[in-house]
């Protein structure tokens, strides 16, 4: 098992004909993901190395059986693309696009929460279920099948931690980048719930960062609902208040959203928190029973 994407994933990529869309769409296909369609309005009938292009996501769903969408269009078109995919009945949407206006996402989030579509991202690296499917831009070569689920607000930091765990001989059920924007479609709680229900996952790593209160709310949720071990990491202990640290959502406002407060909240609920990516890997491996060779 795994979460969100697997061998049943039939992917449509919006923006497949763009430079980055083509690069990562084909990359995902090379990994083994069933990339069944691309969408670029006005280019129906064309193809990208054999992947058929449609004018609308609806056509991709009806004619190519897409059930998952990866959104790779520029920020000003991304909210519309997400809404289109949801309207077309796609069940899982992974939005990679960075820089989507916050009010757009407010409307998209509110609308999607009233339906059954699950959104991952935006401003996220996507979801990798090693050995099964890769939807997004996570460099898959470092990761192998295994029993550690990773959920993270950050992209490269996730690779770093996943990589450190892999170095110690462990693999991953799924690696889920939920994104670093103020409003993301799914938060830690949503993804940890999936990992909790997933047979393959034995341990969950969550990588948070400064800003908002998602980590604090997750601490309460884990204490009440999660029986699997959870290891935490929080980036941004060195961040000064009032400065946005790269991600639109990574900002300490006044005394709120500091890394220290988040780590404390998690530890108060029994979640062990590593102070560096290396320490996170070490704790995870310790819980899993030592380094595998």
């Amino acid at each position: 098992m795994s979460v969100l994407v697997d061998r049943d994933t039939r992917l449509v990529v919006t923006g497949l004909t763009g430079r980055e869309g083509t690069f990562h769409g084909l990359n995902n296909r090379r990994y083994g993901t069933e990339v069944v369609a691309g969408v670029t309005p006005g280019k129906a009938g064309q193809d990208v190395e054999g992947i058929p292009i449609f004018d609308t996501v609806h056509d991709a769903v009806e004619q190519a059986g897409a059930n998952t969408a990866m959104v790779f269009v520029p920020p000003r078109f991304a909210a519309d693309s997400i809404l289109e995919a949801a309207d077309a009945g796609v069940q899982t949407i992974v939005a990679i696009t960075e820089g989507i206006p916050a009010h757009d996402m407010l409307r998209v989030y509110t609308h999607l929460r009233r339906g059954t579509t699950r959104l991952i991202g935006p401003n996220c690296p996507g979801v990798l279920s090693p050995g099964k499917a890769n939807v997004g831009i996570i460099p898959a070569s470092f990761f192998s099948e295994g029993n550690v689920g990773i959920v993270s607000r950050s992209g490269t930091l996730t690779y770093q931690i996943g990589y450190e765990i892999a170095q110690r001989g462990f693999g991953n059920s799924s690696i889920v980048g939920i994104g670093g924007d103020p409003i993301v479609g799914s938060d830690f709680i949503d993804v940890i719930s999936l990992f909790q229900a997933d047979d393959e996952t034995e341990l969950i790593v969550m990588c948070g960062e400064i800003g908002g209160d998602a980590e604090e709310r997750t601490a309460d949720f884990v204490a009440d609902n999660v029986t699997k071990p959870v290891v935490g990491y929080i980036a941004g202990f060195t961040a000064p208040p009032g400065k946005t640290m790269g991600h639109a959502g990574a900002i300490v406002s006044g005394s709120k959203g500091t890394a220290a407060a988040k780590a404390q909240a998690l530890e108060a609920k029994g979640v062990r928190v590593g102070r560096t990516p290396t320490e996170v890997a070490a704790i995870a491996v310790e819980i899993l029973g030592g380094v595998r060779t």
Binding site: E20, H24, P75, R76, E98, G99, I100, P101, A102, H103, D104, L106, R107, Y109, T110, H111, P125, I137, I138, P139, F142, S152, R153, S154, G155, T156, L157, T158, Y159, Q160, Y163, G180, P182, I183, C207, E209, G211, G212, D213, A214, R217, Y233, A235, G236, F237, T238, A239, P240, K243, M245, G246, H247, A248, A250, G254, A259, R275, T276, P277, T278
Partner: protein
């Protein structure tokens, strides 16, 4: 992106939020002229993006041309906690009967706009929130349904607004919500929201934060971006499209991805170093971006060593290596560099660096090792 008070008031006025008459001025002459036009008494207000202007002497009432001149002269150029006053806002003095507080915040936790209203305005609202949370009425608005009249009534009755101004305060909240949505703000705050002696309701201050990601839809707002207040390095980085935050240490840091860069700062700090900056070269960084980034980092004279921490996803390590080689050719840095490359095309990247054999560049295999090394080099 934060607006100055007068920019916020002009934005409010476009959406029908009542504000006092006023005009901006950036010289003493201009300020006097504006004061004459508005009449006396008027108020001369320093335009800086920081609170506590009044206490710092940045807000003065003028009862005559002479006083207006005197105050403008004193305030223009004044330093208010690190912010130099380049502009003043001259505004007709208001007759204040009551001071309220109103704001709309983009609440990322509830995923909805949060409205707040209090009759204890005119002071530090965070202090009010701590000592008497019930003094601030709050409610969330469904983003798709939008602001309804009943929201205004609930807030007004819960906050205990004077009965005779429930309607105008409610109307102002509705206009404020229009402004919040139409201008794609992350925050609009009015403190104080005053009731005048004639029972008019007026926004006497304006604090507006706009969503930088939405400025493409608001070209007029985009023009308000004033780089004059920025740190010179931050301004330079912004011009080059880099995400850079200046800190006060001596270890320059470049990474790709905000999370990894934050983590790198933390690891450097844990190794005993003091980061000089946050610099996210971004996803898919090209060689030219790396050259720009090196220039920005090195323009901070305090930097004694630089750490490159790259984990390639979209970013390709060979591109980063190529950028670093090009940067050395152009900038000829004199401080040592530590480079750690993992991920997409890491081998090609390391091979390029080995081949170029740059002076003073150490390649490390791990993030922790690289952090320790750069701290040693900066010591």
């Amino acid at each position: 992106m934060d607006l100055l008070e007068y920019q916020g008031k002009q934005l409010f006025a476009r959406h029908g939020v009542p504000v006092p008459d006023g005009a901006p001025a950036s010289s003493v002459e201009e300020a006097v002229q504006r004061a004459r036009e508005l009449g006396f008494p008027c108020v001369v207000k320093a335009q800086v993006q920081i609170g506590g202007r009044g206490k710092a002497g940045g807000i003065k009432v003028a009862n005559s041309v002479e006083e207006a001149e005197e105050h403008a002269r004193a305030i223009l150029g004044m330093d208010i906690r690190g912010h130099t006053v380049h502009e003043v806002w001259i505004e007709r003095a208001s007759d204040i009967a009551a001071e309220y507080y109103a704001s709309i915040v983009f609440d990322r936790s509830a995923k909805a706009p949060l409205l707040m209203l209090s009759t204890r305005g005119g002071m530090d609202i965070e202090a009010v929130a701590e000592e008497d949370p019930a003094a601030i009425a709050r409610l969330h608005v469904d983003p798709l349904l939008g602001f309804q009249d009943f929201h205004a009534r609930r807030l007004c009755f819960a906050a205990g607004v004077d009965a005779d101004v429930v309607r105008p305060v409610g109307a102002l909240l509705a206009r404020l919500y229009d402004a919040f949505v139409a201008e794609e703000a992350m925050l609009v705050e009015v403190n104080p929201l005053i009731v005048t002696g004639e029972r008019d309701v007026v926004a006497l201050d304006a604090k507006v934060t706009l969503d930088g990601n939405a400025l493409f839809r608001h070209p007029d707002n985009a023009k308000l971006r004033d780089p004059a207040g920025d740190d010179p390095q931050e301004r330079m980085a912004k011009e080059r499209g880099l995400t850079y935050v200046k800190l006060d240490g001596d270890v320059g840091i470049l990474g790709n991805g905000a999370g990894l860069v934050m983590s790198t700062l933390d690891v450097v700090a844990q190794a005993g170093g003091r980061p000089a900056n946050f610099l996210d070269a971004g996803g898919g960084s090209k060689a030219e971006a790396i050259v720009d980034a090196v220039e920005v980092i090195l323009s901070d004279a305090k930097v004694k060593a630089v750490l490159f921490n790259i984990f390639g996803g979209i970013t390709r390590c060979d591109e980063v290596a190529r950028g670093l080689i090009e940067a050395f050719a152009q900038v000829k840095p004199t401080v040592p560099f530590v480079v750690r490359l993992n991920g997409t095309n890491e081998e090609e990247g390391r091979a390029l660096l080995a081949e170029a054999d740059l002076p003073n560049v150490t390649v490390e295999a791990t993030m922790d090792g690289a952090a320790e090394r750069v701290v040693e080099l900066a010591a």
